[in-house]
């Protein structure tokens, strides 16, 4: 490292969620970012958040989580409430897996579910909209509209499909997750594209994408490190907080083929170590799916 890290360059702060005073209905809002050095180096506020992912159609969700949460899986609002009150998540990430269905057109339920989950939680919300480029326009408009004023973190913008997410963020005042495939250049390019669309820089969160630990996570680690070093060396187009969602961890062979009695432990271990590594690499938010992983991450962050 050169002396560039103490030159004063900082990661931009991004505000998530809006309290009543801020025009929303959340009981708290979070600010992430603001670091002036590498993670855990004592140079930053280290505002680290753990999100529990939930979905609106459990058919497209890892069986190990489905088995664990039982009936909750059919009630996104109950699930979200439990995430916050029972499992201790800092926030919820709502995935509209229903859009994976062939011929999906129930756009009104998108708005309704977003509203229900917002009503069930008191904290900021991450919403993962459409899973299908053809649906983007309709889905993101519904999510955006339903969450107007709440400053959602909306995902996911990618290089070839970012317009609808950006439009929803602009029209309804949300922040955006910008995901690039483990590549610092592409991360930067997408941030520039989003900026040109008009999304303010302080409403962007980078998702450098990741595989599971032992299944390619080291590439992500290295890219996250580079993104952060570039940002600290004054590259404004990369100076955003990062989010990491190691979603593949629950489908690795070791978890899938674990003995029934070990499945939860195996799933939690795999999620925990990947997510914790992502925090070490510089992520501000990690998203996990197994409720028990949340507790373990929170405990690990206390020390």
């Amino acid at each position: 490292m050169t002396d560039s890290s103490d030159s004063g360059s900082a990661i931009r702060e991004v505000r998530l969620g809006a309290t009543r005073e801020e025009g929303g209905t959340r009981e708290v809002s979070y600010v992430i970012g603001g670091e002036r050095g590498l993670p855990f180096s004592g140079n930053g506020p280290e505002r680290l958040l753990v999100a529990l992912e939930i979905c609106d159609d459990p058919r497209f969700w890892p069986p190990v989580v489905r088995d664990y949460v039982g009936d909750l899986a059919n009630n996104p609002d109950e699930w979200a409430r439990a995430a916050e009150r029972t499992y201790g998540a800092d926030l919820v990430r709502l995935n509209f897996t229903s859009t994976k269905q062939r011929g999906f057109d129930a756009f009104d339920t998108i708005a309704a579910t977003t509203e229900r989950v917002l009503a069930a939680t008191t904290r900021p919300l991450i919403v993962e909209g459409s899973n299908e480029p053809k649906l983007d326009s309709e889905v993101f408009r519904r999510c955006g509209e339903a969450g107007e004023g709440e400053r959602l973190l909306l995902g996911t913008a990618e290089a070839d499909r970012y317009r609808s997410v950006a439009a929803a963020a602009l029209a309804y005042g949300h922040a955006v997750i910008a995901q690039s495939p483990i590549d610092v250049n592409l991360a930067k390019q997408l941030n520039i594209l989003l900026r040109e669309t008009g999304v303010p820089q302080d409403r962007l969160v980078i998702d450098p994408y990741t595989g599971a630990l032992g299944y390619g996570f080291e590439y992500s680690y290295s890219v996250m490190e580079r993104i952060r070093l570039a940002a600290l060396a004054d590259d404004a187009d990369l100076a955003m907080p990062m989010i990491s969602a190691p979603t593949d961890t629950l489908s690795v062979r070791e978890v899938r083929e674990a003995a029934p009695a070990d499945q939860d432990a195996m799933a939690v271990a795999w999620e925990f170590y990947t997510a914790y590594s992502a925090l070490v690499a510089g992520a501000s938010i990690v998203c996990v799916r197994h409720p028990l992983t949340v507790e373990r991450l929170k405990k690990a962050l206390e020390v």
């Binding site: 326009s137 602009l170 390019q189 303010p200």
Partner: protein, 678 residues
């Protein structure tokens, strides 16, 4: 109203202005639109004043230097609403959705139709075309009734929004633009400069004016021009001003061209699949139905830029026999003539776009293409021809792909495919003259002729601090990107990995050090490298990623430079092979004495000129010498060293350093007597 046919547009506008001024003076009472946080939006955006009553309106009008859009808006706000099916003022909540579709790309642009069309059917045709092109159209004035009468369905769902029965209601078009700029463009109320910038660059809008506008309406429509909105006159009576006369059938295309509005096409209407997945296939002789060129028949391809009016977008013409007129296994002559037009198109792009013909034809499941220019060889497979593929389809494929891949540069493409032998032969000499001209233009480009170099940071993925600086005389070290390629890549993807590098002051002309390059490299290398000499391998040489075609390395024992290319796997006289050398110089570090280069750089006048250039080169593998062959000989002859080629040793004449020393002494290589390198 006076007779417009003998009257100029400007006179009507002046009269309209006088009338509007008078009405502004007489305006009284409260002024407001419902359901908006932007007061009277145009006025608010232009002046920053949230107008509530007539006095406020007059003050805002004065502050706007009597902007007629402000006047029209204030006057309209005093008139109250309209009855259905007209929408009148569009509330913020609806507008947010409209703005969303605009940012999101599901709406490509905005149109406003005003006046009363002479032919309702022509107006209906315009609306249909606007719908097909994903434009959102607003209607104000007699045009609404005319369209209803012609059976056109109106409403937001049909992307045809009837604002009101008078053309003056078109002012809502302006308040929509103003609010979109404030909601989505971050334009602050009162910041006219950014409002105009946003309207001109982002809000892709145009107006089509039919006949019958009153003076006031004419003045209002004309005032929209300040937002960068072109007014297309599709009716009579608007001559003598800045409005653009168009035939109704041409109106939409003209408007879209003027605003750079493009519709992305995703499916190409040809009877075969078309995808990069097929790029690597080959069509063997026994699978082939018909072929072109490849030595059997004369064939060539030529892409040229043409004036916009000479290119009819999507038009494909076949001159000569189609495939179904020839027997299986036949060979036909072929000329692929591609004409492109575009506001941002430049003649320099022609060869780069022409090279894409190769790629695109190979995208076709049943079409195959090799080589370039007058050396092409094209085949269509039996399977494809059986499915109905014709030569014409290659034209359709090319026209679509070029438009899709280069939407910012190409507005129109037409393709002519000639299979008539006599015609192909007649056109060949002209094509060859054009190729020669292009070669000369690129070959003749010098670093001192340009003010801007280009960077390439594609490899920062794995060499995070490496920055390639590409100049006309120094291609990227991978050999894949010339200065021209980088420039075009930048224009196509302005946020991409090729960025312009202003040269700045010349720090040292011989070493090729420029202040602008240093500044750029320092930033792009994240502070790792702060000085770069473009023409030296000793003082601050350029860093390398790992993709270099060749490595140049100093051989201290003989005071010379050796060059080894990637394909040479043996040992060099330095006792190291290519990959060992590569391991020591890559990764984005400056390694004085070693440098990664492209093959073409060896032939450049700027080749390591700080170290005496090509005359320093003492060793190259045979394969590289053969590849550079005549070009290198010509270069050396041009520099007055016709015998130097034979003085460069190789792995046969000098496999070891001892052999090399002996060889160079024997041939009396000039490097031996040059100033010491270290």
């Amino acid at each position: 109203m006076k007779n417009r046919l003998t009257d100029s547009l400007d006179a009507a506008i002046e009269r309209g202005r006088t009338d509007l001024d008078a009405r502004m003076r007489a305006l009284a009472g409260k002024l407001a639109y419902a359901d908006t946080a932007y007061a009277l939006p145009v006025t608010y955006a232009v002046t920053g004043i949230a107008v509530r009553d007539a006095d406020g309106a007059r003050e805002a009008y004065r502050q706007s230097s009597n902007n007629l859009l402000v006047a029209c808006e204030c006057l309209m706000a005093g008139e109250g609403g309209v009855e259905g099916p007209y929408t009148g003022f569009i509330p913020d909540a609806v507008l947010r959705r409209l703005g969303y579709t605009l940012v999101d790309g599901s709406v490509t642009g905005l149109g406003l139709l005003v006046g009363t069309p002479e032919s309702p059917d022509a107006a209906a045709a315009i609306c249909r075309e606007m719908q097909e092109k994903y434009l959102l159209t607003f209607l104000a004035g007699g045009v609404v009734e005319a369209l209803s009468g012609a059976g056109v369905r109106l409403g937001l769902d049909y992307r045809l929004v009837p604002l009101g029965p008078q053309s003056a209601r078109g002012i809502h078009f302006a308040d929509i633009l103003a609010r979109v700029a404030m909601m989505f463009g971050g334009v602050q109320p009162g910041d006219v400069h950014s409002l105009l910038g946003y309207a001109a660059e982002r809000a892709k809008a145009f107006v089509i004016a039919f006949g019958g506008l009153t003076d006031e309406e004419t003045a209002f429509v004309d005032a929209l021009r300040v937002l960068g909105i072109p007014i297309l006159a599709a009716g009579e009576g608007y001559e003598g001003g800045a409005w653009i006369p168009v035939a109704p059938a041409e109106a939409v295309r003209t408007g879209m061209d003027l605003r750079g509005i493009r519709v992305t096409v995703t499916a190409i209407p040809i009877p075969m699949a078309c995808s990069p997945a097929f790029e690597g296939k080959s069509i063997r002789k026994e699978e082939m139905y018909v072929e072109f060129g490849g030595g059997r028949t004369p064939a060539f391809e030529l892409l040229r830029m043409q004036p916009r009016e000479e290119v009819e977008d999507g038009k494909v013409t076949v001159v000569g026999p189609e495939v179904d007129a020839v027997a299986e296994g036949a060979a036909l002559p072929l000329a692929i003539l591609v004409d492109v037009a575009g506001a941002k198109m430049k003649r320099d792009y022609e060869p780069v776009l022409e090279r894409r013909i190769h790629t695109f034809v190979n995208y076709g499941e049943g079409s195959w293409h090799v080589a370039q220019r007058d050396l092409i060889w094209v085949r269509l497979s039996k399977e494809a021809v059986a499915k109905g593929v014709r030569i014409r389809d290659l034209g359709t494929l090319l026209a679509h792909k070029l438009r899709m891949e280069f939407p910012d540069h190409i507005d129109a493409v037409q393709v002519t495919l000639v299979t008539d032998r006599q015609k192909v032969e007649e056109m060949l000499p002209e094509a060859r003259a054009i190729y020669a001209g292009r070669d000369e233009r690129i070959a003749g480009m010098k670093d001192e002729d340009v003010e801007t170099f280009y960077s390439c940071t594609l490899c920062q993925t794995f060499a995070p601090n490496h920055v390639c600086v590409i100049t006309p005389e120094r291609p990227a070290l991978c050999g894949a990107i010339t200065w021209l390629d980088a420039r075009i890549a930048h224009e196509i993807a302005p946020a991409g990995a090729n960025q312009p590098v202003p040269k700045g002051e010349v720090v040292d002309a011989v070493f090729g050090e420029f202040s602008g390059v240093n500044r750029f490299v320092k930033k792009a290398s994240h502070g790792e490298t702060d000085r770069v000499s473009l023409y030296s391998m000793i003082e601050n040489p350029m860093t390398a990623c790992g993709c270099f075609e060749c490595i140049a390395a100093i051989v201290p024992e003989v005071n010379g430079i050796l060059i080894v290319s990637r394909d040479f796997t043996g040992e060099t006289p330095l006792g190291m092979n290519f990959s060992t050398l590569a391991g020591t110089i890559g990764g984005g570090a400056q390694t004085p004495g070693f440098i990664g280069i492209s093959k073409n750089y060896i032939l450049s006048d700027r080749f390591l000129q700080a170290e005496n250039g090509i005359a320093r080169v003492v060793w190259m593998p045979v394969s590289l010498k053969e590849e550079l062959g005549d070009r290198l000989r010509a270069k050396l002859a041009g520099q007055g060293m016709p015998d130097l080629f034979e003085k460069i040793a190789d792995e046969v004449s000098a496999p070891t350093i001892e052999d090399l020393i002996a060889f160079l002494k024997r041939v009396d290589h000039p490097a031996l007597t040059m100033r010491s390198l270290i």
